[in-house]
């Protein structure tokens, strides 16, 4: 039985290889094959991977330990959801998921009606060439369907820290984001090959690029939220190499989505758009695979294997060098002379593009510097989070400034004084709010005050630009997505700064019955209990929280002792209030009498996630609105 499945699955992968070769024929000017249409072959390509992915899921659910992958990463007593997430909680399975999304995007694009036949053929061909490379890699170097001849009774289990519902959906979402940029990359290569990088190109690319960006943002946010409650350190972002690896493509993608808009509206910035498209995909590739290859040392890496890093590096090198060579050959042809005024919106967007790339450089240097010193001087070191905070703060201040200004500028020439007078009410009200907040909260740091002030203006001016208030009704304008996302960023920045300033933390060695205090909160340590669960034993502490005599809820932080594989995890307990989270972590008891508890007050966390959700929504809205507008145009 297992052997049959092994063959079927491998045959399906080979079928996908074959279809990819057929699909890439358009690149080599072989056109006389017309048995099936492009979308039909893409459908076969997609189905072959989809079925093999379902086979892998089936193997995990039925716990077939004749397969190496299932043996090493699953366990028969694991709950169903973690058997499922075990499918992509390892290198081979996550590669298959990556390829599944790659073929899915190819299939979806082959169905879309937005581009000419020739354009579609070449795009699908480029995408299929990549699919070929990855499927070959999967078959030869990381085959998920390898079988063993032992008769193992049970598997080795999945790392308990990964046994979390959020981590079950985090990798697929993040991958949709990463892999989405493969299609943007293919579109760019097609644009370069056909020398058609113009308004039409931007109209085709826009919904895809916004969709991919939204998923990438959501993926990063999910990872960050997971770290916030699972790792129990009270933070949501650690400037850890793996986090940085996902932030870098995001920064470049954020620059890219703005360039695509400029290209669509003004037919300019062709070269820069191409550079960003290639850069974003390269960083996405590096992001996934440097993480998976174990080159980056991190708290988030769980499925790593250094041997395979080399293939990815070679692949990355081929993609980078060939695409930049193509770009160098074609950039003269695609560039149209741009005739815009220095005080136009183009300039504002360009400046913020540069600022994003500057942040990207900061993150890149900080991530790569330790790798470089280790290789060259054999000296291990880490870059402290302070480096990022200090380097990025001044850039963020400029960035916020131009984020407020740019949408106010017209695409032609604009008068700065006129904009200033239009914004006078917003400016005055924000100045007043900031002044009052500063007084009320005893804030004296100029940088913090400035960021709060700018964020406030950004929130108000973005929201008011996306909605038109008429006497009786509210009209949603076409830039609604942008205004939601920009306001979301303002809210996010506001929360980040306030959170950094007002977070509090205290560690107690507590006995049952004692009352602990942090700020105005009283923690009443009531009880401690031992429990036995399906796949772990736990010690649970019970505390109740009150403030000024008012009862706010119960904490139940927990320590879990897993046996397969033997691991201990801390489960944090969080009480979410509107303005601040209160957060308790407990430690493995070192002696009988007392237990170490760490108490955190994390203000504005809800507001921070609200900002992030608005950013993601803004991206999705823009992707969908654009779609509609395009379809209307197509009909006319």
């Amino acid at each position: 039985m297992s052997l049959a499945i092994h063959y079927v699955a491998n045959l399906l992968l080979i079928l996908c290889l074959a279809t990819s070769i057929i699909q890439s024929r358009f690149l080599f000017k072989i056109q006389n094959y017309n048995l099936f249409s492009i979308s039909q072959i893409s459908a076969i390509q997609f189905l072959s991977i989809l079925v093999s992915f379902f086979i892998l899921i089936f193997l995990f659910i039925t716990s077939d330990f004749n397969f190496d992958l299932v043996y090493f990463h699953s366990h028969s007593e694991k709950p169903l959801i973690y058997k499922l997430s075990g499918v992509w909680g390892n290198h081979e399975g996550s590669m298959l998921l990556w390829i599944l999304i790659l073929v899915l995007f190819n299939f979806l694009f082959s169905l879309s009606k937005s581009s000419s036949q020739k354009f579609k053929e070449i795009t699908v061909a480029v995408q299929s060439l990549m699919i070929f490379g990855f499927v070959l890699f999967l078959l030869l170097l990381s085959n998920p369907f390898n079988i063993n001849n032992e008769n193992f009774n049970d598997g080795l289990g999945l790392n308990p820290i990964l046994q979390d519902p959020l981590l079950a959906i985090h990798p697929p979402i993040l991958y949709i984001g990463y892999v989405g940029f493969s299609l943007i990359f293919s579109l760019s290569i097609t644009g370069l090959l056909t020398s058609e990088v113009d308004k039409k190109w931007a109209t085709i690319a826009k919904p895809w690029v916004f969709a991919a960006w939204s998923f990438l943002t959501a993926g990063i946010a999910l990872g960050s939220y997971w770290a916030y409650y699972e790792l129990g350190w009270g933070g949501y972002w650690f400037w850890d190499p793996v986090e940085n690896a996902s932030l870098m493509p995001w920064l470049s993608a954020t620059a890219l989505i703005h360039c695509v808009v400029v290209l669509q509206r003004r037919n300019t910035m062709q070269s820069w758009t191409m550079v960003l498209a290639i850069l974003t995909f390269s960083l996405s590739l590096a992001g996934t695979f440097l993480v998976r290859s174990g080159v980056l040392n991190s708290v988030h890496t769980f499925a790593s294997d250094p041997g395979r890093g080399l293939f990815i590096l070679i692949f990355l090198f081929i993609i980078l060098s060939s695409s930049f060579l193509l770009f160098a050959l074609k950039s003269e042809k695609i560039n149209k002379p741009s005739l815009h005024n220095i005080s136009s919106r183009n300039t504002g967007i360009m400046v913020n593009n540069w600022l994003l790339i500057s942040i990207l450089s900061v993150v890149f240097l900080g991530t790569m510097y330790p790798l470089a010193t280790d290789l060259i001087y054999n000296q291990s070191l880490t870059v402290g989070p302070q480096y990022y905070a200090i380097s990025i703060t001044p850039i963020i201040i400029l960035f916020l400034f131009f984020m407020i200004l740019s949408p106010k500028l017209s695409w032609g020439e604009s008068k700065l004084l006129k904009i200033l007078s239009e914004m006078r009410y917003i400016l005055i009200s924000c100045l007043t709010i900031t002044f009052l907040t500063t007084l009320y909260f005893d804030l004296f740091n100029f940088t913090e005050i400035l960021i709060i002030f700018l964020s406030l203006i950004l929130i108000i001016s973005s929201l008011s630009s996306g909605l038109n208030f008429k006497s009786t009704k509210v009209i949603v304008k076409s830039n609604f997505g942008q205004s939601i996302a920009h306001a979301g960023f303002g809210i996010f920045m506001l929360a980040v700064v306030s959170n950094a300033v007002y977070s509090q933390e205290k560690i107690y060695d507590a006995k049952v019955g004692s009352k602990l205090q942090l700020d105005e909160y009283i923690f009443d340590f009531k009880n401690i209990e031992q429990e036995e669960k399906d796949n772990f034993n736990s010690i649970r502490a019970y505390l109740s929280l009150s403030k000024n005599g008012k009862d706010l809820g119960e904490f139940s932080p927990e320590i879990r002792f897993y046996s397969d594989p033997p691991t201990i995890t801390s489960e944090t307990s969080i009480i979410h209030q509107f303005f601040s989270d209160v957060y308790v972590v407990m430690n493995v008891p070192q002696n009988q009498e007392s237990i170490s508890l760490r108490l955190h007050i994390k203000p504005f966390m809800n507001i921070l996630w609200l900002g992030v959700i608005m950013i993601i929504l803004g991206g999705i809205i823009t992707a969908i609105l654009n779609r509609k507008k395009y379809e209307e145009n197509a009909i006319n």
Binding site: N159, S358, V383, G384
Partner: protein, 144 residues
């Protein structure tokens, strides 16, 4: 000089200045915020005392962990040749244990003690920090 060329030049220069300033800030900051990693032998050899924050890694020496209450812990970190006595106040990671790998961050004092403000450990009992593996290999104490 035509108008377009002039505008391009201005744009180029402005971008260059912004980028240049950014890079300067980056490099300046990077130098100030690096945390070096040492093994016990290296830290004694380099005599890295003073106010600089460093990381120290190795194995927790067996039967060296002592608790004072109030979440204060004393333990020794060894690489097989030298050991350093570490004092730490806070919550120890779940997988902190004797004869397991550990990395601490803090200050190496003049009297030869290490005051840690962070104890780093991963959530996997077989995990060994790569730096610790490297230093154990150098002292010949590493066993596969």
């Amino acid at each position: 000089m035509t108008d377009t060329v002039k505008k391009r030049l201005i744009k180029f220069l402005v971008s260059l200045i912004i980028f240049g300033i950014a890079i300067l800030i980056i490099v300046y900051n990077l130098r100030d915020n690096i945390v070096y990693f040492y093994s016990p032998s290296e830290i004694i050899e380099n005599n890295q005392t003073g106010s600089q924050i460093v990381r120290l890694g190795g194995l927790v020496e067996s039967e060296s962990v002592v608790s004072d209450g109030d979440s204060i812990f004393h333990f020794n970190i060894t690489d097989g040749q030298e050991q350093i006595s570490v004092k730490y106040q806070g919550i120890l990671p779940n997988l902190f244990a004797e004869e397991k790998g550990v990395v601490v961050e803090g200050i190496y004092m003049n009297d030869g003690r290490f005051i840690a403000n962070k104890v780093l450990a991963k959530h996997d009992e077989n995990y060994m920090p790569p730096e610790v593996i490297k230093s154990l290999k150098e002292t010949g104490k590493w066993q596969e």
